[in-house]
Structure formats: C-alpha cells, structure tokens
C-alpha cells in the first residue's frame, strides 16, 4: 500500500512524527536540522495541527511541556547547542511524568562547534543532561527509514512510560537521502485521563514536580525510579551482525555504525572474522547482551564520533578480561570505513 520514496533523514523524522499523531511541533532554527522545522511549518497546518517557531529552544521545550500536559503528542527538534538549552525543560518533563519526543540531530562541538555530524552528546542524552534523578529513553537510528520508524516508536514509548524520549541521529544522517517506506498513520492514541483538559465532571488534575516538604516529594521520585527499572528490563534494543564466528566485535551506533558495516565487509574479504554489536537503545543500554557476548568474544573495538563516550558504557558492560579499543573521529568530521579497517587490522594482525 505504501510505496518507497526517496527522502532525507530530517524529512523522515518530520513525516514519522506526523504519522505517529504528533499534534504539536515547536522548534527553533539550527543547522543541521532546519529541514524538520521547515517541513513541519507546511505540514502541520495542512493537517490542522499546531506549529510554532519559538523564540528559543527553551520556549520550545516548555511549549512541549504545555502540549504534553494537556494530553497531546508533542515534539521538538534541535541540534547540539539547542539540546543543551532544552535540558532544564527535559528535567521538568521527566519530573512531572510527561511524555514527549525530543530529537537531537547532533553536530560538532563543544561550544558553537560546526554543522558536521558528531556523537559528542552521548553522555548528555543518556546520563540525564538536566538536573536531578531521571533518565530518558534514547533511540539511535542508522538509516533514513529508521529516522522515521524510531520517531514513531519514540512517541509510543514516551506514552507507555510517561517519560521523555530522545531520538539521537547525527548531522550526516539528517542529510542522508535514502528510499523510505511510508508508514500508516497511527489512528488509536492512548487515553490520558491524567491530562489537564478542563475539570469537567471530574476532580481537578494537577501536573507538577514539586512538594514543599522533601518527605512528601519522595513518593513521586520513587515512582520515577521504579519506572526506570521497568524500562531497563523491558526496552533494551540492539542488533547483532556476524557474531557467530566473530573474533573481534565492533560496537557502534548511528553514522559510525554505517562505516563499521563497510569496514566489517572489507575485513571479512581479508579473512578477518569481524562482527558488529549495535546498541539501538542507548538508554536503556544493552548491558546484559554485551556482557553475555564477552564470555565468548574477548576483543572489542568501539567506533564512535566523539573522544570516547559510548566506550565507557561498553567497558562497564563487559567482563574484566575483555580487551576494548577505541577508533574515533570527532568535531564534526565523518568517520571513514578505512579508519576502522586500519584499527581492526592493528588489533587482529
């Protein structure tokens, strides 16, 4: 029923959100994700939905807060410097148990950085980023199709757990153009009896993240803790490629994963038994699958576009006897398959 169309990653995110029933989009321009905002400025009014170009990323995330609290599926998209500005708002969303989707098309940094793709916001996305005890689900797409599908999944998971969910591609994926199968629009959205929609025929609803006395606030925070346990247990997603005979496993996500795929093929042509472990949820991190794997394989190569952030989670997941090396690029420079192949050869030959 749905034919394949050529589409850029950023547009796939926008269309995925529309198919997922996103009722409100709020954004502030920043490269390399402006196409999302521009596309939504046309498509949301067409669909009779809400679009606001805001005065800042801070306003955008707080508008998401208002839309989510009033029961609507809502999204904001940005790139690294803007993601920093959203952190306070993400903490408030998490604190108030509100579902929302935030997309960070990562670029080179720190500081203003540059408009190339990078993976330097891994810690910020997966470890909290804002203040207080909370985590957000983080999905890492690696194809344009996944930009669409993971955006839809993000809305589903956000509602399921009443928790902010982040889609974390990088700038190269945002610009990548690939064939995409369009998805059927979600027609049945979950009921939200907790939302503030006007106290008609019911007791009032309140949405907050505050109590005057710490002891009265603890039950709310305890619920967040329990929810995160459920997420850790039930929502781990990953992909394994050629692990059966692998003597070395590359761990990579996003654009780095794509380069790793090519590097693996080149290595296999040389007779080197290389496999790939790809985390799809960066939070919850696939700790157990990786630790199980390290009983069989002892050599790991983490390929990422940062000084080395993913590698810390990989090290924590693996047994003490595993050898973990890093091959990386950073600062907005793409990672080539050749670089990864070189690192593989160094370890294996």
């Amino acid at each position: 029923m749905f034919e394949k169309t050529l589409m850029a990653g950023n547009i796939a995110i926008a269309e995925g959100a529309i198919s997922a029933g996103c009722h409100a989009y709020f954004g502030y321009p920043i490269t390399p994700q402006n196409e999302i905002l521009e596309h939504m400025s046309k498509r949301m009014p067409e669909e009779g939905r809400v679009f606001v170009q805001t005065e800042s990323e801070i306003a955008a995330i707080n508008m998401v807060h208002g839309a989510a609290a009033s029961g609507c599926r809502a999204m904001t998209t940005t790139s690294s410097p803007g993601f920093s500005l959203k952190q306070e708002g993400i903490s408030y969303l998490a604190g108030a148990n509100l579902p929302a989707v935030i997309v960070n098309v990562m670029r080179g940094g720190p500081g203003l950085g540059n408009i190339g793709g990078a993976q330097g916001d891994y810690f910020q996305a997966t470890k909290g980023g804002g203040h207080g005890d909370y985590r957000v689900i983080v999905l890492a797409p690696a194809t344009v199709q996944e930009m669409m599908d993971f955006t839809m999944l993000a809305f589903e998971l956000a509602d399921k757990y009443r928790n902010p969910t982040i889609v974390l591609p990088d700038g190269f994926l945002g610009q990548a153009i690939e064939p995409v199968t369009m998805r059927a629009p979600v027609t049945k959205l979950p009921e939200k009896p907790w939302a503030i929609t006007g106290a008609v025929g019911r007791a009032k609803n309140i949405i907050n993240s505050f109590a005057m006395e710490p002891i009265n606030d603890q039950p709310r925070i305890e619920l967040i803790r329990q929810k995160l346990e459920r997420i850790r247990q039930d929502e781990v997603r990953f992909e394994s490629i050629n692990l059966d005979d692998a003597a070395l496993v590359i761990v990579a996500y996003g654009s780095a994963f794509r380069s790793a795929m090519t590097a693996m093929q080149m290595a296999r042509e040389e007779g080197l038994k290389v496999g790939i472990f790809r985390p799809i949820t960066l939070f919850p991190f696939p700790i157990k699958p990786l630790s199980d794997l390290s009983r069989k394989v002892k050599r790991f190569l983490v390929a990422e576009m940062s000084f080395g952030q993913l590698i810390e989670d990989v090290r924590l997941s693996l047994g003490a006897d595993a050898q973990v090396e890093l091959v990386n690029q950073f600062g907005g420079v793409p990672m080539s398959a050749d670089e990864i192949l070189e690192a593989i050869e160094k370890i294996m030959k």
């Binding site: 009722h23 409100a24 709020f26 809400v50 606001v52 805001t54 005065e55 800042s56 801070i58 306003a59 955008a60 707080n62 508008m63 998401v64 807060h65 208002g66 839309a67 609290a69 009033s70 609507c72 809502a74 306070e88 708002g89 408030y92 108030a96 503030i196 929609t197 006007g198 106290a199 008609v200 009032k204 609803n205 309140i206 949405i207 907050n208 993240s209 505050f210 005057m212």
Partner: protein
Amino acid sequence: MAQLEYNELETILYQKPEALEEHPFHFCPGCGHGIALRLVAEIIDELEIRERAICVASIGCSVNSYEYFNFDGLESAHGRAPAVATAIKRCHPHLIPFTYQGDGDLAAIGTAEIVHACARGENITTIFINNAIYGMTGGQMAPTTLTGMYSTSTPAGRKPSLAGYPIRVCEMLSTLEGTAYISRVALHSPAAVRKAKQAIKLAFRTQLAGLGMSLVEVLSPCPTNWRVEPVKALEWLAENMLPYYPLGEYKVIDAVAALKKEDHHA
C-alpha cells in the same frame, strides 16, 4: 452554633468561590498573593469558566497556586509559564489558560517568554504580581526593585550604577502589536482591590472573546521582605511604588474597549 446561623441567612453576601479549594493559603500575613488569587477565583466563578480554566503557575511564592484553585493546573519552570500557556491554548482553543507570575519570574528570567507571547498575540491571560522583590528566595533584588530600595542583595539600596533601573513592564509590553489589553492595578486599599478585580475580569473577557494577549500587573505588598508590618506595607506601596509604576490602562484595543462598554450598559 456558627453553622446554624449561617444556614439561617436568607441571602449570602460573601462566600468562598467555587473556584477555590478548602485549602488555607500559606502566604505570610499581609501578603498580596492571597488577595490576587481570590480575585481570580471570584472572576472564574462569575464568568462560569471553572471547567475550562487552567492555572499555569510559575516559580515564586505562588509556586503551588494550583493547589488553591478548584480546577486543572500545572507547574511551569521559572519564567516559562507564557510558553506553557501558549501551547495549551494552541492545542485546546476552548480552554482558558492563564499564567500567574511574580516579577522575578516574568521580568527577569522569563523576559523572553512574556515578550514573545505578547508579540505573537497569544490568546492567553497573564496575572503579573509586582512586589518589587524576590519573595520566595528571601528578599533579593528583583528587576522591579525601586532605585534606592533595600534588598538582601542591594544592602546599601539599589544603585543604578551597579544594578540598573527597575523595569516598567506594562509600558514595555504595550508597545507590542499582539497585546490587546494591558493594565496596572494595585492592592493597597479596598477601592484599589475593586478596580483590580475589574481589570482582571476584563483581561479574562479579552481571552474569552479571542482578542489576543491580556496582562494585568498587580502591585502587591510583601511585608516580610520589605520588613514592615502588613498595614505599613500598604502605605509603603502607595507612597513608593505608585509614583514609579502609575496605575491605569496601557493598552486597550478597540474591540476590548467595546467589551468594556457592553459591561457598563449591562
């Protein structure tokens, strides 16, 4: 006994508005917040919009104002209430969201959000409590602290050479095209409170009529941080705040003026 007498009354002249909860205010004696919140509740009753009203609370002494109201409400981060209310109104045009913000919240950390909500002409209402001080955090300088005024962070009085000048919010915002009704009122006397109520009611009616952004600045006493007794605080307000923050209407677009006329005829 008291209960019996109440029941025997034929006409009730004054009672708790339906829009207020049976919940004591936690404010200090003589604080203006309790008066302003009650005025809002009375107006919501009078306009019969309790089931559509949404309290968008801010951060300050009124942080949990949604607890006092008997209708839906939520908290927003410090200064961000106009953004939160914008989204609620855009997503649900039939709801009546209003923000309730202090001067630190609205005129310092939240300046961008209020300016742009006004610039966009959002169809929301803002109740802006100007007590010339940061109440909740213990009396530091606010963007509205008067020149020469003591605060815990201007111990020698606010000096413009160090700390700049107090912001006149109504004057500033009324220059923006998207604002429909902007007015400054005060709570220093019963007559002033009655006028304040009229202004707040007109602000809500502006939203109900879909005319654009409405904002009422309420000059309000904070005896605790001004370090004066409650009655003295009212005098202090009249003597010191009124000259710098003149009361009156700063923006009344024609359609709002027409609403006001309707009221006089009724």
